[in-house]
């Protein structure tokens, strides 16, 4: 008995001792792990900038942005010190040989608030074998205007056909918190595998939100505050379900494009994928009445990427006339293949159509930018919150510019009737899928400039002269996250508030409801004047586009 009690004592004491030992080791690691952040007393000055990842040199940043943590890429150096100075405030951070500079969030916020409207000078010191050196300092320009604090996006492997685990996430831009809005297929089940499509909010608020689920449990998910409803917009007269959505800013209405989309893979081309529509129309959906109608509908014209003007009186969209590319009298079954053979000649112009908010009717569409005449193609028009600028992506051809290296951000100044590229924000790689901030001073877009494949959100300041400044990559707590993450950021959307609906509610809606079928209202489509503007010379049958029986 005595031995038994002794044993118990020994075990209990051993466990306590082990716990204490582990605690000491942990504390030691925490305190010993902090790199030295003292400015070296002696150093040489070099005339070049330090190589940073991501490149945050000389960028304009919002005063409410999370710390711009970065990595100094210098394999010779064994330690680094970074000093940030602005308006009497100073912040010093040390880094080990890995060069990772992590800025304290509280100190960073204080520095930014102090430096609003001014510069922050950043000096980087590196400990080389021959001693400390100081690289040429650079500046961070702190704007007066905040950026909307929430950025939502889809994380998905870049492009390709199959899908499995992907999700919509929301990132708080003022810190590093990322929360899932909805994630699919954490556990793979063939019968539940589904894809999540583009999401959209009304007026930068999460009060109203929409996204589409494809394949198993498919349907359009309409969210109002914390409640989600699934609806089936697809009708025998509608090509597919709603694809690219745009909430009306004043009314609870969503304009959708409905697209028959296919993709092909290049065998020897820097642009790996070509995504093409062989048919697309525009729809108007009323979530309150669960009614859907066509806005524009034609076989010869591909209308897509709707976006409302802030006053809600215009619906902007892009449109291609495929009579330039294919003979529509040939069988529909081969249309997709015939378009693929002429993929680099399918081009889209920027159009808009007036909307009467009283009776919810549309007027005659009109061309806003004729890109085709310059041998270019426009996609993704987004009107600035003040209604003055239309921001769009311009590329050499096609509509899926997120895979076109030629794609750049352009604006149309509606006041001065001029179009120009946002030179400082653009890169030599893909720059596309953009969104304005609610104050119109920031644009967020996805770019593949880092490696040509994985898109990352970039933020650029849009000044009062209508010019964008150099864009910077979404800051991450671990700057290497941009390198290590094997997914793309897709469809960035800014909001003023956090998403209210829970992932559980969305899962319930997606998995447990079939979705009520929307009532289709026939005869609402507008006769598109472009139909008579045939490049082939043949005037198409204006009524054919309205026929609900017309085969697709």
């Amino acid at each position: 008995m005595h031995t038994y009690i002794m044993k118990k004592h020994i075990i209990v004491r051993s466990i306590i001792a082990l716990g204490i030992l582990l605690g000491i080791i942990r504390l030691a690691l925490i305190f010993a792990g902090k790199p030295d952040a003292a400015i070296p007393a002696k150093y040489e000055t070099v005339d070049n900038l330090a190589a940073l990842y991501p490149d945050y040199t000389d960028v304009t940043i919002p005063p409410n942005i999370a710390p711009l943590n970065f990595q100094v890429c210098d394999s010779d150096a064994t330690a680094f010190v970074c000093r940030m100075e602005g308006q009497g405030q100073e912040l010093t951070v040390g880094a080990r040989a890995d060069g990772i500079i992590r800025v304290d969030t509280i100190a960073w916020r204080a520095l930014l608030q102090q430096s609003k409207g001014h510069d922050i000078t950043v000096s980087i010191y590196a400990k080389k074998p021959a001693g400390w050196v100081m690289f040429k300092p650079y500046h961070l320009y702190v704007a007066q205007e905040d950026i909307d604090p929430y950025l939502s996006y889809r994380l998905i492997e870049p492009g390709y056909e199959l899908y499995r685990q992907l999700g919509l996430y929301q990132r708080n831009l003022t810190n590093f918190t990322e929360k899932p809005i909805y994630e699919n297929n954490r556990e793979y089940e063939d019968g539940h595998n589904h894809c999540i499509n583009c999401h959209n909010y009304r007026n930068y608020s999460t009060e109203d939100m929409v996204f589409h689920v494809r394949s198993n449990h498919g349907g359009t998910i309409v969210i109002h505050n914390d409640r989600a409803t699934k609806v089936q917009i697809k009708d025998s007269t509608i090509i597919t379900a709603g694809v690219y959505p745009a909430w009306h800013p004043k009314q609870r209405l969503v304009a959708f494009s409905t697209n028959k989309t296919g993709q092909t893979f290049h065998i020897y081309h820097p642009e790996k994928i070509e995504v093409m529509d062989e048919a697309s129309d525009l729809l108007l959906y009323d979530p309150d009445k669960n009614q859907v109608s066509h806005i524009l509908r034609s076989k010869a014209l591909l209308e897509t990427f709707p976006n409302w003007s802030p006053d809600g009186n215009w619906l902007y969209f892009t449109q291609a006339d495929i009579r330039r590319n294919v003979d529509l009298s040939e069988p529909d079954s081969t249309l997709g293949m015939r378009l693929v053979f002429d993929y680099d000649n399918v081009r889209y112009d920027l159009w808009r159509i007036p909307f009467n908010q009283q009776d919810r009717s549309f007027g005659q569409p009109e061309k806003v930018v004729d890109a085709v005449k310059d041998g270019k193609s426009i996609t993704l028009p987004r009107v600035s919150p003040d209604g003055r600028y239309v921001l769009y992506t311009l590329g050499d051809y096609g509509q899926f510019h997120i895979w076109h290296k030629s794609s750049d951000l352009w604006v149309k100044d509606l006041e001065r009737d001029s179009c120009y590229a946002l030179q400082q924000a653009n890169s030599t790689d893909v720059d596309s899928y953009h969104i304005w901030s609610s104050n119109g001073r920031w644009i967020v877009f996805s770019s593949r400039r880092m490696d040509g494949n994985y898109s990352r959100p970039f933020i650029a300041y849009f000044d009062e002269h209508g010019q964008a400044r150099k864009a910077f990559c979404l800051p991450q707590e671990d700057p290497e996250q941009n390198l290590l993450l094997l997914k793309s950021y897709n469809v960035p959307e800014l909001t003023r508030d956090a998403v209210r609906v829970s992932p559980r509610e969305l899962r319930r809606c997606i998995y447990d409801t079939e979705g009520e079928r929307a009532e289709y209202l026939p005869g609402h489509e507008v006769r598109n004047p472009a139909m008579a503007d045939a490049v082939s010379g043949a005037t198409p049958d204006a009524t054919s586009g309205a026929s609900p029986q017309r085969p697709r």
Partner: protein, 539 residues
């Protein structure tokens, strides 16, 4: 004392044993008969996992991915039992060196067995039961064969034994803390067992191991061969691939044929040695993550495209697999090589950075990291230089070709970068028995003595196109054999599927045999067989 001797239920203490009355001679004799079962089991498991199944577990590791950073492992950690699979994947890294991984596997299974016996308080006469779970686990791994890594959670392989040992250890500690039950010997001679009790355990182990190995040889013989070939392919050991494939020429499956073809491409034998192995493609016991049977095309198609010069297609196929299974070492390595060959330096740097955190991948990162921004080094690499010769000249779309693309592309090739490209194209035409396309591509090699398979193909085409053989030398040397062959096979032509296997040993390596009797199951349908239409679309 005699009571204790006659009552095996009560475990003797060391003191009691020393006082045994049999005398010195009796004790020596009895000790000589007892064998240390746990160490023997450890050795057997080590031999099984390191030597017999070493290549299989090494490929399991290649099909896995583990880094310390939890955010990179989110695709595993966020799933049910994710932490366990994370640990399992970590342990699996040791199979980079099968002898090392084998030690761990042997430790986990033998320790688990010992703990099982202790925790269950098994008496010596029932102690053989303690080995049953470990043997059953080995049997399960054997039964699943290629499925243990193909689109599967590789963390299970060592995660389950790890959890078992962990649970049993805690259980054993609790028992040990609250009872005075002595532990049976783990390393030395089990003195509490009688000779027959000891022999029963040895017998159970021997029979169990024989069943495991026997079943593998009987029903899953392809597993070790395919993994051996894959392993050699990673090492760019083309000679070993050929040797192993030819040694198992009678075995036939698509991954084996694909790796063999890659080796032939790299050793310039694609026109002469393709038909040294049987190409009838037996059904493989392999399933994807949707648990539907498939022909394992995903195992070889990315590599097939890469070695056929279709780098973009290979990258695409790697990405599709990565979407479905998450990253694997194998995919990341191949994507790195594709990116390097396409001068996508930043993309290659990204993959190398990811791989840098994977244990034991330092040499790969060092070798290929040196090529960043240095196209000269890329082109100087033997493997890459060979692949470069067959890269396409013009762009086109994958869906213009029959699947798999590396076959369809070569079948449709009209303009190549080198003679290697032409040879690959001719070889694919012969393999697919599309003789009009074969004949249409012969002009550039007219005036030469064609390689054996091409020569036989030309002779077979004479009936289809008169004069096709003109301009070639050396055909007359092949003619008598063809005539003799045609005469020999006449009785067998009525029922070719029935006689194909019987005739293979006689005509191994001979193209006309393949033309009439080989690959008869092939249809015009896609050879990939992987149907994922429900989960594909524009993303």
């Amino acid at each position: 004392m005699s009571k204790q001797k006659n009552n095996p239920k009560k475990a003797p203490t060391p003191n009691v044993r020393e006082a045994r009355p049999e005398g010195k001679e009796g004790v020596v004799q009895r000790r000589a008969l007892l064998l240390p079962v746990i160490p023997l089991f450890f050795l057997a498991v080590w031999l099984w996992s390191a030597v017999y199944f070493g290549h299989v577990f090494r490929i399991c590791r290649e099909y896995s991915f583990w880094v310390k950073n939890p955010s990179e492992m989110q695709f595993v950690l966020s799933r049910s039992f994710g932490s366990l699979w994370y640990v399992g994947r970590m342990l699996l890294q040791l199979f980079r060196y099968p002898w090392l991984g084998g030690l761990l596997m042997a430790f986990l299974l033998s320790m688990g067995s010992w703990l099982m016996g202790y925790a269950m308080r098994l008496r010596p006469r029932w102690r053989w039961i303690q080995y049953a779970p470990a043997l059953a686990y080995m049997a399960v791994l054997t039964y699943h064969g290629l499925d243990i890594f193909f689109e599967a959670e590789t963390g299970r392989i060592l995660g389950i034994p790890f959890l078992t040992v962990l649970v049993l250890s805690i259980w054993a500690v609790i028992i040990r803390s609250f009872s005075r039950k002595p532990a049976p010997a783990i390393v030395g001679i089990p003195r509490d067992e009688s000779p027959w009790q000891n022999r029963v355990q040895i017998l159970v182990l021997a029979v169990g191991m024989m069943c495991v190995v026997g079943y593998n040889e009987w029903r899953r013989a392809e597993v070790r061969v395919v993994c051996r070939l894959m392993d050699a392919q990673y090492e760019q050991d083309w000679e070993t691939i050929q040797r192993v494939a030819r040694d198992n020429a009678d075995m036939s499956n698509r991954p084996m044929a694909a790796y063999y073809a890659m080796a032939l491409v790299h050793t310039d034998q694609v026109a002469t040695r393709v038909y040294d192995i049987r190409l009838d493609y037996d059904t493989l016991h392999i399933h994807g993550m949707d648990w539907h049977s498939n022909n394992a095309s995903a195992m070889y198609i990315p590599e097939g495209s890469y070695h056929a010069g279709l780098l973009q297609t290979s990258y695409h196929q790697c990405m599709e697999q990565m979407v479905m299974t998450g990253p694997t070492v194998r995919l990341l390595q191949l994507m790195t090589k594709c990116a390097l060959m396409r001068s996508e330096w930043e993309l290659a740097r990204k993959y190398l950075r990811v791989l840098r955190d994977v244990p034991f991948e330092g040499s790969f990162c060092q070798r290929y990291g040196a090529m960043l921004n240095k196209p000269d080094l890329v082109n100087a690499d033997a493997e890459m230089a060979k692949i470069r010769l067959t890269e396409p000249i013009h762009d086109s779309f994958e869906n213009q070709y029959q699947q798999p693309t590396f076959m369809g592309y070569n079948l449709a090739l009209v303009e190549g970068r080198s003679m290697n490209a032409l040879y690959n194209s001719l070889a694919v035409c012969l393999y697919t028995k599309v003789m009009p396309d074969f004949m249409a591509r012969l002009n550039p090699i007219r005036g030469t003595t064609p390689p054996d398979n091409f020569a036989d193909g030309i002779l077979l085409c004479r009936n289809k196109q008169e004069g096709i053989e003109k301009g070639f030398t050396g055909l007359n040397l092949r003619e008598p054999r063809l005539q003799a062959y045609m005469k020999t096979i006449q009785p067998y032509l009525k029922d070719r599927p029935r006689y194909a296997r019987e005739l293979f040993p006689r005509f191994k390596g001979y193209y006309p045999y393949y033309y009439f009797f080989g690959n008869l199951k092939a249809t015009r349908k896609s050879q990939t067989g992987s149907n994922r239409s429900s989960s594909s679309g524009v993303n």
